[in-house]
Symmetry: C2
Subunit: 219 residues, 2 copies
Amino acid sequence: MEYMARPAKPNGAVAERNPKRTRERILSAALQEFAANGFAGARVDAIARRAAINKRMLYHYFGDKEHLFREVLRRKIAERQASAESLSGDPAESLPFWFKLSCKDADWVRLLEWEALQEADNQLIDGNSRRALATRALGRIRQQQALGYLAGEFEPRHLLLAMRSLTMFPMAFPQLTRLIMGRPVSDPHFQKQHAEFLRKFAAAFQPAGNRRNKTNFEN
Amino acid sequence: MEYMARPAKPNGAVAERNPKRTRERILSAALQEFAANGFAGARVDAIARRAAINKRMLYHYFGDKEHLFREVLRRKIAERQASAESLSGDPAESLPFWFKLSCKDADWVRLLEWEALQEADNQLIDGNSRRALATRALGRIRQQQALGYLAGEFEPRHLLLAMRSLTMFPMAFPQLTRLIMGRPVSDPHFQKQHAEFLRKFAAAFQPAGNRRNKTNFEN
DNA sequence: CCATTAAGTAACCATCAAGTTACTTGGAAT
DNA sequence: ATTCCAAGTAACTTGATGGTTACTTAATGG
């Protein structure tokens, strides 16, 4: 059977071309879909519908579903690197800061979580730049220890892991958090309360001799 | 076309019946498959193959994929409740204990993670018994605070959330942990080191006036 | 010892979803 | 002006996958 010629636009609409916008729409729709459903759960058709583009374009720009996923992750990582650098060394500020950031960007936490669950035979996406980022973070901690703002009795690696744990966990496990706190993670009251807890709890990271003031308004 | 009669066992093997064992095999295979691939990623055929049973039996015993998933979670939760109760009140012991437990039972952490990512319009699986468990845990913390083993300056809820964060995070995000620690989470050396870190760090949860000895062999 | 039922089997099917085919067309470069 | 390619479209293919049909047979209670 011969392939039948079809008009590209059966309705009279003009097909304005805009490769940049199309790419952007796909990436943005893909971020939402992947964050919501993960790689296996995400539907290419759903991404296309969400982006209001033809599915074929997705393959045109990104090759296949997996490459699209990697690109989404890569972009999000790049986006986060900026805020990663601008960060006070004082844990009483940085812990609440990181916690609030996780609250604001649930998609990010979810993406990392999906990545964690991906059967990890494959290598880390964007590994080099992330390794570099981690190295810089460790360097800052070492610096803060030397300045006496962070307890020197602990290894920087463990301190960093503990800080990440405390600030990301609630968003990563909303059901457990709700079980414990009695409120949904999305509740602003919970977020404020827990940020305040972290500010006080940050004393644990400070040298015993140099514990800062625990009241609300220091400086 | 008439349906053709087929022998149930074309090879001469005897079909020994064992409903209990069959159910058990399905649940065990499903636990592995769901922990590894999540609900969307899990394949019913893979579960059947793993369990070495006919796929039809899975539907016979559990109705459908989702009911099977819920049953797997329910059983794992029940299994964990036992170890949840047997736990010292001293954070210098309980933090490393919980951390090691997470390391040992990666499937559990992964299941919770998959559950967290499930689009949460549905209600919590086995909510009542889990709520009760959380309430008991909070009660123990309040008790320990009264006895002076835990800092009274923090709300029990926040303390519990912080403890869970510190002990579960590394297994939940192995890729981030590896990025920070330079070693895979599965590395026994890392696990020992971090357990030791948590033992020392537990001082953060103890009252300022009642900090325990930080050396390795107390008592 | 026989009827009934629960446990078991293999083949089948409908649907869904990733990826392709086979085209058309806007617009930049020659 | 005309060619050419990237951008765009709709229909199609193919394989996987959750679930079903249509049976057989071991075991158990009357």
